[in-house]
Assembly symmetry: C2
Homo-oligomer: 294 residues x 2
């Protein structure tokens, strides 16, 4: 298999669960009809972005694996014959919840689960209240279309996560995402934030000679507590090649389906020219395991 | 000290040692006259880029620390009252050489030495023949203008190096560089390489909320063995701010002096919004010390 067609389903998630699921299903089916063999959805795509406030009732939104969402997305993966990267609020036990990605094989089976390892917490993104940090580590998920380095959102700011996936043989880095602007920030700050988000992930592509697929929500979602101005999710879902080059990028306003054909041979060619894995100074990296080097 | 003016001296290094030194000195003096308190030179700025072939006679170019180059640049740092980041081919002992950066205080004293930790080796960049990998680790150099995270060229592709500097309290990341195109590559490949080089370093700025200063040589330098087509050093010296935003960028053709005023308070403000250091999963990063995770 020398090439792989990927579909990125960027959509708003501000409606009812039914409406959000309909948007996801429509994107999956359209992507598959256009030839995609791998489809990626945004972070927590079945619901409103609830971590804008801390509210115990929101834990009712969590569901087990397997559960209603996995049953539904398993069926559509099988129906369409695609490998499917989904995201959900996982209820593992009473008082123990995760922000998880479930990857389905094209026959509908669960290829693997990733539990978000890095959990953010800043105004309007109160995720530490809801999500226990993942305990499955940074391990790619083997599928029929390759070894997928699935990470989630906040993980995308950490070069360590991308590197650990690359060292474990990941062939793609994939980030379901929910990121957007505080509408109160000025335009310059908003543009710096968006560009930083794109740039740090393109940097992971370069440092590891791996394609990067980032799929974001889009559109304004109100603060459920009606205190803050909400979050304007900035879209801009994109695919970068093994040298960080843009292969496709969505806009910032609306639902979009991006279809990209990846050349799976490119990574090895790039690594022969820029053999970073050969030259890592693992003898001198010990302090990466420290919080700080006072 | 809330701001710092930095000068980047991008110049060709294809002339005689005297001519190259004259170009470095002119840039340092001009930068200082314009208000710079920190001046950065390209990698191995006193000579032709000799590692284009493997030739034992080239070891004659190496010099000790202290030695003729450090004496000269110490004097100009004192004369101009600037902190100065230089680069040289260090002779440590017979058969033991390094690619080193010497940083001078504004009084001419040696503030510190960094020995390039990651050594490249690919066609026309046969550095592994000449340079023993550094054994001083990734430690910032304390100066009167701040803690400088000085790294050299190939180091710039490794997020680990930038992170270790950040964890040790570096306030700036600084990369004296010698990178360019193989004139035989097509234009698309050349542009991807240049953009990858810029992007991965802007990514370090984002991941660590630190300004990045990269200073490159510029211009064509012939292969001393007259076999290959030489290297066209691509200039494009630049400064990125703490969110990876461009603060200044030189062209690809000629000698340039870039002067940039850095806001030293910005980094802490950015880290309060995006507190990546808080959330690193040091409990799960152990495999970063492995070559590969089979």
């Amino acid at each position: 298999m020398n090439s792989l067609t990927v579909a990125l389903v960027q959509h708003p998630c501000d409606g009812s669960r039914e409406k959000n699921i309909a948007a996801s299903l429509a994107g999956i089916r359209k992507g598959a009809a256009l030839g995609a063999k791998l489809v990626v959805l945004p972070e927590l795509h079945t619901g409103h972005y609830f971590p804008q406030n801390e509210e115990t009732a929101h834990f009712d939104l969590a569901e087990p694996i397997p559960g209603p969402s996995t049953e539904l997305f398993s069926a559509v993966a099988r129906e369409c014959g695609v490998v499917l990267v989904t995201s959900l609020f996982e209820r593992r036990a009473a008082g123990l919840y995760h922000n998880s990605s479930v990857v389905f094989e094209k026959d509908g089976g669960v290829a693997g689960v990733y539990r978000k390892m890095h959990i953010p917490d800043d105004p309007a993104f109160y995720e530490k209240f809801y999500f226990t940090p993942g305990d499955l580590g940074f391990n790619p998920i083997q599928t029929s279309v390759g070894r997928l380095g699935v990470l989630v959102c906040w993980d995308q700011w950490f070069p360590e996560a991308a590197r650990l996936m690359a060292l474990a043989g990941a062939e793609l880095l994939i980030y379901p995402t929910a990121i957007g602007w505080d509408p109160r920030d000025d335009v310059d700050e908003q543009e710096r934030q968006l560009d930083a988000w794109v740039t740090v992930q393109r940097g992971h592509a370069v440092a590891n000679a791996l394609p990067v697929i980032a799929v974001n929500r889009v559109g304004l979602e109100a603060d459920p507590a009606e205190i803050g101005p909400g979050i304007r999710f900035w879209g801009n879902s994109f695919v970068a090649g093994c040298q960080g080059e843009f292969l496709a990028q969505a806009g910032r306003e609306r639902e979009e389906l991006l279809l990209v054909e990846l050349d799976l041979r490119r990574g090895e060619a790039v690594r022969r020219v820029w053999p970073f894995l050969r030259d890592r100074r693992i003898d001198a990296y010990g302090d990466l395991l420290r919080r700080y080097r006072e």
